[in-house]
Amino acid sequence: MGPLSETTPQASADAALPLLRIDTVGKQFGGFTAVDGVSLDIKAGEFFALLGPSGCGKTTLLRMLAGFETPDTGRILLHGEDVARMPPHQRPVNMMFQSYALFPHLNVRDNIAFGLRRAGMPRAEINARVAELLALVRLEGLEKRRPEQLSGGQRQRVALARAVARRPQLLLLDEPLAALDKKLRDSTQRELLALQRKLGLTFIVVTHDQDEAMTLADRIGVMNAGRLAQVATPRQLYEEPRSRWVAEFVGDVNIIEGRIETREAGRLRVTTQGAGALTALAPRHLGDAADVCVAIRPEKIRVSQRAPAQDFAAGTINRLEGTIANVSYLGSVSSYTIALDGGATLRASLANAARVSADAYAVGQRVTAWFAPEDCIVLDR
């Protein structure tokens, strides 16, 4: 009955604890370490995304939360209770599968009602709940259809309705939108967000699609090789990546390697091989190593034919000369590859703000690229 109750006594008794605490959880398959000592807290009502390349362990972590895999080490605390070794059918957690896993021998109604029947809910209540869910995912009138008679988007919505039917404290979604085409994905993302807010559920979604993670999640955990590389809001993840790997994995970035020459007044002077000396804002977290790399997002780089009228000598701006090597027109933005005179290559993306742009550059044109020290992210190499 646990999963269906609206409030849990433990939740109020232990308000300090997060809904879910993953405590140094590890999992090995044979000799391969799939998940390596991951610790993470998830707050009630949060929309959390686990983002990472395939094989990074994000799905294994999700399956351990659902109970399909048992962690080798660590604890999974749900409302303070360790559920790491609890079988899936006893957990107040539900999962939406990547393949949707709709029961082919049952129609839409019976698929959605499956978990409710198992929980022993009275028939009248089941009917009311199913009707409510059908309305929620806009599938009224299709309750008699078999899964094979539905479109991909409809199947996705049945899977979602079935997964939230028991009002789980935690809903796990494994690549929920991967099987949909691009147009449908965008509208479904909005629906998913609206549904999560409306039901007030806690969602953990696993995805390899960073746009999806950015759009949906309050916080994102980026995983690499079984470890959490960084847990942050989408903005922090993009603007303040903690490592070179995260900077390169999330979004597009220019990486220039160099050495720290001087540190003074919160500013670093970094000499680089291919882009001369750069001035960067000193980050809060940086090791003692002098060998660093400077990461600059392409849209932070301005390009002009003539240098801006500012005081460069004072180191308030980084200015680099080069030649346009390649232009990609992408509609809303244009991406320019600039071969710097120093030898490095920079990619800059400029918004096409006007139909006829004065700022369109051609291959071979001499330009000045400039960016502020605040836009340089200094990271350990």
Binding site: P87, H89, F103, H105, G115, E148
Partner: protein
Amino acid sequence: MSARRFAAMSRFNVASLALGLAFLYLPIVILVIYSFNGSQLVTVWGGWSLRWYTAFFNDEAMLTAAGTSLRVAAVSATLAAVLGTLAALALVRGERFKGRTLFSGMLYAPLVMPEVITGLSLLLLFVALGAERGFWTVTIAHTTLTMCFVAVIVQSRLGSIDRSLEEAAMDLGCGPVKAFVAVTLPLIAPAIAAGWMLAFTLSLDDLVIASFTTGPGSATLPIRIYSEVRLGVKPEINAICALIIGAVTLAIVTASLATKLSSRRGGNAAPM
């Protein structure tokens, strides 16, 4: 030009198809026609009649043999369906157990083993065990023969079922056993039914293994027919054979329909 050549090709195809079918089915058709022969002699046509069917239904010994055959077939097919399904589950779902390849290979052995060898080895086993030969020895022998057919059919069906279906059932509150019963079993049921039909037919047809393992008083229909034919073919045999052909045809058609239904239900099949 090419259209004409295509037409000629297709005429050739039609002819070869007709010849092939005639080769396969002409003897059977003749047998069925002669089962309605009114004459005492098998080879002389004496007009249409149902007298040999009546003769069969009054032949106590033949009816007993037919009853034995049906009981053996039903019991062995049921045992084979259960054991074959369990074997298929172990092979498809038990990914982690060692010697799986060996087991899977061994399962296929009875499919290719000459029946004489299977029959003889079973006879030796029953003699060694001191088992009294009769209904149960034939039934067990037929179960060993037919369970691998069931296992192969169920195995291919199980292999095409998404494993996350059972996980979804567990996620929605089913224990492992209940998840199997509520989700996997309904999906493989048509394959199990098809396997049962096939096992039933194989058991009904079998002469060799049955004659090795049967005992006094439990002759199956094929054994009975064979011993009758040695003394000369009576037209009554034609009638019995026609009935068996009818039963087998029905079973095969049902089994293939069940298999078709089973694959149509699976996964992301196109809407009907």
